[in-house]
Amino acid sequence: MADRYLILEDGSVFPGTAFGSPAVTFGEMVFTTVMTGYQEIITNQVFHNQIVVFTTPNIGNYGIERNIYESIVPTIKGVVVKNVANVSTNKKRRLTLDRYLNSMNIPGIANVDTRALTHRLRDAGKLLKGSIVPVPDEHAFDQLQATVLTNQQVAQVSAPKPYPNPDVGMSVVVVDFGLKNGILRELSRRKCNVTVLPYNATAEEILRLDPDGVVLSSGPGNPASLRASVLEMIREVETRVPLFGIGLGHELFAIANGCSLKPIIPDHSGMNHPIKEVITGHIVYATQNQGYILTHDAVDRSQLYVTYVDLIDGSIQGLRHRDYAAFSVQFFPDGAPGPDETNGLFDEFMDTMRVREGR
C-alpha cells in the first residue's frame, strides 16, 4: 500500500500514501491537535519550514475555500495525516486539498499512524528533522542528516517591501514577521488603514508613517535568531505609539523588554489549553502555535506584568508594559482557525489608539 514515507532523523520510518506534490522536502516535525480549519493551518506562515502532523484524522473534507487563506503562498514543508478526502463541494470551493497542495509544491502523506508518530515526537526530547520521501533508503536518511535547516525563517516569509491595505479608520503599521491574514482581517473589520512593513523596518521608517498604532505580527522560528535591530525598533516604537504583539511579535516584545525565552519540545500547536486571564481569573481558549516559552521567573517585572498564563504548561501567554501602551499575547486572538474568545484584544488595541489620539 505504501508509496511514500515519512522518515525522521532518529531513524524511524512511517509508511503512508502520497497526496499533494511529489516534491521531496525536509523540515522540522511538529504536530497540531487542532481539529478544525486545515486550510488555515496549512497556509499559516508560522509553520514555515515545518512538516505538520495533524492529530485529527480527517482533512480535506470540504476542499479549499476561497475566503479563508492565511497566506497567499504557503511555505509549510509537508502535511502528514491519517486520511485525506478528495472533495471539492461548490463554486466557492473548486479545489481539492490534493490539487491545491500539488499546485503549491507541498507534499502530503496520508494513511500514517499519526498517533504513533505524535507519541514519537512528544517523547523524542528534541525537535526532530523529518523528510517526506518516495523510498526510505540509506540515501534518503543521509540527505536528511546532512540537511541544515535555516534559522532565517522570518527573512524568508516576510514581505520584501511595504504594501498598503487601505481603509478609512485608524492608521496602523503591521510589521510582518510571517503575517497571517487573520490579523489583517481583524484590522479590516475595524476599518484600520493598514500599512504592512517588512520585518526589518526601522523605528524611523515606522514612525515616519505617523501611525496610530503598531502591530508586531506572528511568524515562524526562533525569536533569538533575529537581528538585534528588531529589538531596538521595538524598544523605540513602544515608547511612542500603542503596540500590540502577537505570537512571534509577543516573543520579540518580551525579549526587547528584558525577558529570555527557552524552547519547548515538542512545539505546541493547539487550541484547547485553558488560558487564564490573570486580572479576572477568567479562562479562555485560543489557538497557540509556539516553539518557545516564557516562564514566570524569566519576566522582567520592573518593566512588564503578566496578563495571561497557560494553566497546563505554566507559560506566560500575555504581557503588558508598565510604562507604555504596549501589550502582547502569545496566542492568536484572530483565531482562523480557533476560538474568538480573545478577539476583543483587537478592540482593546483600538481603544488604546483612540485614547492616545484623544478621540
Binding site: T33, Y62, I68, H273, D340
Partner: protein, 833 residues
C-alpha cells in the same frame, strides 16, 4: 450537624425520549456528589435502574413516581439542601417547576443545581425561551402570526420559501403544510385561516434540509465555559437528531462556522446561567452563510454519554463535581488524567459515530419513514481512525444487512429514489445503493442534502467491496479492507470462505489489530484513560490487565424486549466482582450503557460485539473469567478461549417466554445454587385475562395464598427441585384454574426484567447471588439473606410499550416488545407499637 443532602430527580421508565443514558449519568453524578460529602437521595420508578441499587452512589432510593406531590413529600422527609433536576429529562423540569410554584423550594430553602428555576421555566415554555434568544440577538428561525392573506404574503416574501403554515387553535384536526411557492402558499393560507378558531395562522421558516449541528458546553458557577464537543448529523434537519447518524468531531464545517456557533452556544449557556452541561442545537444554511438556534437542552441526555465515550472525557464525574460547587480549574481527575484535564477542551485523533437502533420489528410501511418524531430506542457507537472504520464498526451488529446491499439491490429505481428523498429506517444502506448504481456524490448530495463528503467516503467502502468480490484471497485487498474497517465475516461471505479462514490469512500476512486509547488530548500528553478501540495500525497501546481479571461482553444497545434490564444485571455483577477484587474489563458498543461507568469497568473496549473483535480482545487479556450473554450462541460457538479462562454465560437473553393461558398466572421465582433451591418470591400477573396472549408484563406481589394454594405451590416447587441440575435463576409459571387447582405451566429461566424488579422489591442483590452460584454455593450470610428477604405491603411492575409514541396500531403487549418498565413499591412499615 447532619450531612447536607441532595435529591436527584430520576426517571419513571425508559422511553423513546430518554433511555439508559440517564441511569448511567445518574450513577456517575451521584457517586461524585457523594464523594464530595453529600447524602444522596434518588427518586425513580425505573426497575431497570442500577443507580437505585448502587450504594456507592445513592444513599436513599425512593421508588415512587416522579410527581410534584411525591417530590414535596420527599423534601419534607429528607430536607435536602439541593435538588438535581437535570437527570430526569423534560418531565423532571416540569415537575420541578410545579414544586417551585407551590412554594416548597423556597420554604425549605432548597437550591436547584444545574439549571436555575428561571431557566427551567424558559425550557418549559418555548415562547419565553425564544424571547430570550431574541433579546440576545441569537439567530432563530423566523416566525410570525398573521390573520389575513396579504400579511401572510408579505411575511412569506420576507422569510422566503419553503415556509411552514400552521393553523392556530384549529377547529377540528390540526393543520400544517410546508409550502414551496406562491400557489401552494395561497392554498395553505386559505385553508389554514378557515380551519383556525382564532382566524390566525402561524408562518414559520422551514429549516428542512439544513445541516444539523450540536455544540455541547460545560460551565461552572464562576462562569468558566468550555466546549466539550461538537457533533454533526449526517442526516439533515427533517430527521430527528436522535434518528440521525451523528459524527464527532464535526467533519464538514469550516472553522469560521464552527467558531460562530461556539460563540452563540457559549452566550446562551451564560445567559441561562447553566452550571454543568448544556446542549445547543443549530441548523446551518451553508449557502446563505446563516445559522439558527433550534434547540437548547440544559440537562443530561444521550449526547452527554455519547461524547463522553467518544472523547474520553469523564462527563458524569465532572458534572457531579460542578454540581457540588467546584470550578473547572479546581477539579482534579483520577490518576489517569494530567493536571487541569477537566478544564482542557477534549480533542480527538479518531472519529466516533453514533448510529440509532430502531425497533424495526414493530415498524412497518409508512411508519418506517423518519421524521421530526424520534423513532429509535437505543444506539451504538463506532470508533475508528476513519469515518469508514467507525461506520463499519457501528453497523456490524446489523443482522442481515451488510455492505453487499442484498436487499437494496432488489429495489426498483423509483423505490430507491423515493427512499432517498423520504428518509427511512436503514437509510445508510439506501444511500450506498444509490452510489453503487452510479449516482454521483454531487447528485446525491443535491437530492438528499447529505454532505458530499459522506458519499465520497462511502464510495471508498463500496469500491473495496466490489474489488474484494472479484479477487478472492487477495492479501493486499484484505489489508485495505481491514484498514477501512470491513469485518472478517463480510470478507468471508464475499470470498466464499469461512470466517476462521479469513482470520488465518490475515494473521499469516501480519494484518493484526492494534488498540488505541480513547483519551482527550490527541496524544499531546501521556494519559492513562483505560478506554480503547481497535484499528489496524502500527502502535498498540493496550496493556494486559492485571489478574485476577474478568471480561464482560456487554448486552449491546437498548432494544425492545429487555430494555436495559440486561445492563442492570451486568452492572450488579460487575459491582460484585469489583468488590471481590477482580479487575473488570467491559466490551460494549452501547455508549449509554451503565456497564461502561468507570465505577464498574476498570477497562473499557468500545468495540463491536462480534466474534472477530471479542476474540481479539480475549487474545490479549486472557481473563480469568469471560462472561458472555447466554443468548449469544454465535459468540459461544465461535470463540476460542484458552484453558486458563473460564467461560461463563450470563442469562442475558431477550425474553422468549411464550406461555399463553386463559387463566390467571402465578410466578414462583427460584434460585438454585446446585444444592439447594431457594424460593425468592411469588408474584401474580394482573393484566386483563381477556388479553389472550397472556404474558408477564404486569405483575405484583405479595400474593395472598390460601393454605391450600400454598400447599399446591410447595408441591410444584418440590417437583422442580428434582429436575434442576444447573445452578441458576428460574421461574416456575403456574396457572390458577377455576376449580382452585394450580397447575404447572413451565419452568423457565428467570427473565432479567423480573430479576431487576425483584432485587429492588426484596432488597436482595440477585445478580450478585447469581455470580456467586455460577462459581460456588451460597455462603451462610447469603443463605440467610435469601431466606429472609424484605417484606413489602405491595409492589407492582408494569411494562411500558412504545406503541403509542410510535403510532403503531394493534401492537402486541408481549414481553418481546417491552421498551422499559415502571414499578411501585410500598415497603412494609415495621411498626413497633
Amino acid at each position: 450537624m447532619a450531612q447536607d443532602c441532595v435529591l436527584l430527580i430520576g426517571t419513571e421508565s425508559d422511553n423513546l425520549q430518554h433511555g439508559d443514558e440517564l441511569d448511567t449519568l445518574t450513577l456517575d453524578i451521584a457517586a461524585s456528589l457523594k464523594k464530595q460529602g453529600l447524602t444522596t437521595v434518588l427518586i425513580s420508578t425505573n426497575p431497570f435502574s442500577f443507580s437505585l441499587d448502587a450504594k456507592q452512589a445513592v444513599d436513599h432510593a425512593e421508588i415512587v413516581p416522579v410527581t410534584s406531590i411525591n417530590v414535596e413529600n420527599i423534601i419534607n422527609k429528607y430536607h435536602p439542601r439541593y435538588i438535581v433536576p437535570t437527570l430526569g429529562g423534560r418531565h423532571a423540569f416540569e415537575v420541578i417547576q410545579e414544586v417551585a410554584e407551590s412554594g416548597t423550594l423556597q420554604k425549605n430553602n432548597v437550591e436547584l443545581l444545574g439549571s436555575p428555576l428561571s431557566t427551567i421555566r424558559q425550557i418549559n415554555n418555548p415562547v419565553m425561551l425564544s424571547r430570550t434568544l431574541h433579546t440576545m440577538d441569537a439567530p432563530t428561525k423566523k416566525i410570525a402570526t398573521v390573520d389575513n392573506y396579504q400579511a401572510a404574503d408579505d411575511t412569506v416574501t420576507q422569510i422566503g420559501y419553503p415556509a411552514i403554515i400552521r393553523s392556530i387553535m384549529p377547529k377540528t384536526s390540526s393543520f400544517w403544510r410546508i409550502v414551496h411557492d406562491k400557489n401552494e402558499m395561497h392554498e395553505a393560507v386559505t385553508i389554514g385561516l378557515q380551519r383556525s378558531r382564532a382566524g390566525q395562522i402561524l408562518i414559520q421558516q422551514s429549516l428542512a434540509g439544513l445541516k444539523e449541528i450540536e455544540v455541547i458546553v460545560l460551565r461552572d458557577a464562576s462562569g468558566t465555559m468550555m466546549q466539550l464537543a461538537m457533533v454533526e448529523d449526517i442526516d439533515p434537519i427533517g430527521t430527528h437528531a436522535g434518528d440521525s447518524i451523528a459524527v464527532t468531531p464535526a467533519q464538514t464545517l469550516l472553522d469560521r462556522e464552527i467558531q460562530d456557533m461556539r460563540d452563540i452556544a457559549f452566550a446562551i449557556t451564560r445567559k441561562l446561567r447553566v452550571v454543568g452541561i448544556n446542549h445547543v442545537q443549530f441548523a446551518l444554511d451553508e449557502e446563505k452563510e446563516q445559522f439558527y438556534v433550534i434547540k437548547n437542552s440544559p440537562y443530561l441526555d444521550r449526547m452527554s454519554t455519547f461524547v463522553g465515550q467518544a472523547t474520553g472525557y469523564p462527563v458524569g464525574m465532572v458534572v457531579g463535581q460542578l454540581y457540588a460547587g467546584m470550578n473547572l480549574v479546581d477539579i482534579h481527575l483520577d490518576h489517569g488524567y494530567y493536571r487541569h484535564a477537566a478544564v482542557t477542551e477534549p480533542v480527538m485523533d479518531r472519529v466516533a459515530v453514533r448510529v440509532p437502533v430502531w425497533p424495526s420489528s414493530i415498524l412497518h410501511g409508512k411508519n418506517r419513514l423518519l421524521s421530526t418524531q424520534k423513532k429509535s430506542l437505543g444506539s451504538v457507537i463506532g470508533i475508528g481512525r476513519s469515518l469508514e472504520e467507525a461506520l463499519c464498526k457501528a453497523i456490524s451488529f446489523d443482522h442481515g444487512e451488510d455492505l453487499r446491499l442484498q436487499a437494496e439491490n432488489k429495489l426498483s429505481e423509483d423505490e430507491l429514489i423515493s427512499g432517498l428523498i423520504h428518509p427511512q429506517i436503514g437509510r445508510l444502506y439506501l444511500l450506498m445503493e444509490a452510489l453503487r448504481r452510479g449516482y454521483s456524490p454531487e447528485e446525491l448530495s443535491e437530492m438528499t442534502k447529505v454532505d458530499e463528503y459522506y458519499f465520497v467516503e462511502l464510495d471508498k467502502l463500496l469500491d473495496l467491496v466490489k474489488q474484494l468480490n472479484g479477487h478472492p484471497g487477495d492479501e493486499k485487498l484484505l489489508g485495505q479492507a481491514k484498514y477501512l474497517g470491513i469485518p472478517d465475516k463480510l470478507i468471508a461471505d464475499l470470498w466464499g470462505l469461512s470466517e476462521g479462514r479469513v482470520a488465518a490469512i490475515r494473521h499469516g500476512n501480519g494484518i493484526n489489530r492494534t488498540y488505541k486509547m480513547v483519551e482527550p488530548t490527541g496524544g499531546e500528553f501521556a494519559t492513562d484513560v483505560a478506554s480503547y478501540y481497535s484499528t489496524f495500525e502500527m502502535e498498540d497501546e493496550s496493556q494486559v490487565t492485571p489478574t485476577p481479571s474478568v471480561m464482560v461482553v456487554g448486552a449491546g444497545p437498548l432494544q425492545l424486549g429487555m430494555g436495559s434490564a440486561g445492563d442492570y444485571f451486568y452492572a450488579a455483577v460487575l459491582a460484585k466482582l469489583r468488590h471481590y477484587g477482580y479487575h473488570t474489563i467491559v466490551v460494549n458498543n452501547n455508549p449509554s450503557s451503565v456497564t461502561l461507568s468507570p465505577l464498574l469497568a476498570n477497562k473499557r473496549y468500545l468495540e463491536p460485539l462480534i466474534a472477530e473483535n471479542i476474540q481479539s480482545i480475549v487474545g490479549i487479556e486472557h481473563p480469568d473469567y469471560l462472561l458472555v450473554p447466554a443468548s449469544r450462541s454465535d459468540l459461544l460457538s465461535a470463540l476460542n478461549v484458552a484453558d486458563e479462562t473460564q467461560l461463563l454465560t450470563m442469562p442475558i437473553n431477550r425474553n422468549t417466554r411464550s406461555i399463553s393461558s386463559h387463566f390467571p398466572l402465578y410466578n414462583c421465582d427460584l434460585l438454585f445454587d446446585g444444592k439447594q433451591l431457594y424460593q425468592l418470591a411469588i408474584t401474580a400477573d394482573y393484566q386483563s385475562p381477556l388479553n389472550l396472549k397472556y404474558q408477564s408484563t404486569h405483575q405484583y406481589l405479595p400474593v395472598e395464598l390460601t393454605p391450600l394454594d400454598k400447599h399446591q405451590v410447595e408441591r410444584l416447587v418440590d417437583q422442580c427441585r428434582s429436575s434442576l441440575t444447573k445452578p441458576g435463576l428460574y421461574q416456575l409459571v403456574m396457572s390458577v384454574h377455576q376449580d382452585g387447582t394450580i397447575k404447572r405451566e413451565g419452568l423457565l429461566p428467570l427473565p432479567l426484567t423480573d430479576v431487576a424488579f425483584l432485587s429492588k422489591v426484596l432488597a436482595l442483590d440477585i445478580p450478585g447471588l447469581y455470580s456467586q452460584i455460577a462459581t460456588d454455593v451460597l455462603d451462610d450470610e447469603q443463605q440467610l439473606a435469601v431466606q429472609h428477604p424484605r417484606l413489602v405491603e405491595r409492589a407492582v411492575y408494569q411494562a411500558q410499550f412504545p406503541f403509542k409514541a410510535l403510532r403503531v396500531q394493534n401492537g402486541q403487549l408481549s414481553v418481546k416488545n417491552v421498551m422499559g418498565a415502571t414499578m411501585f413499591l410500598f415497603p412494609h412499615q415495621n411498626k413497633l407499637s
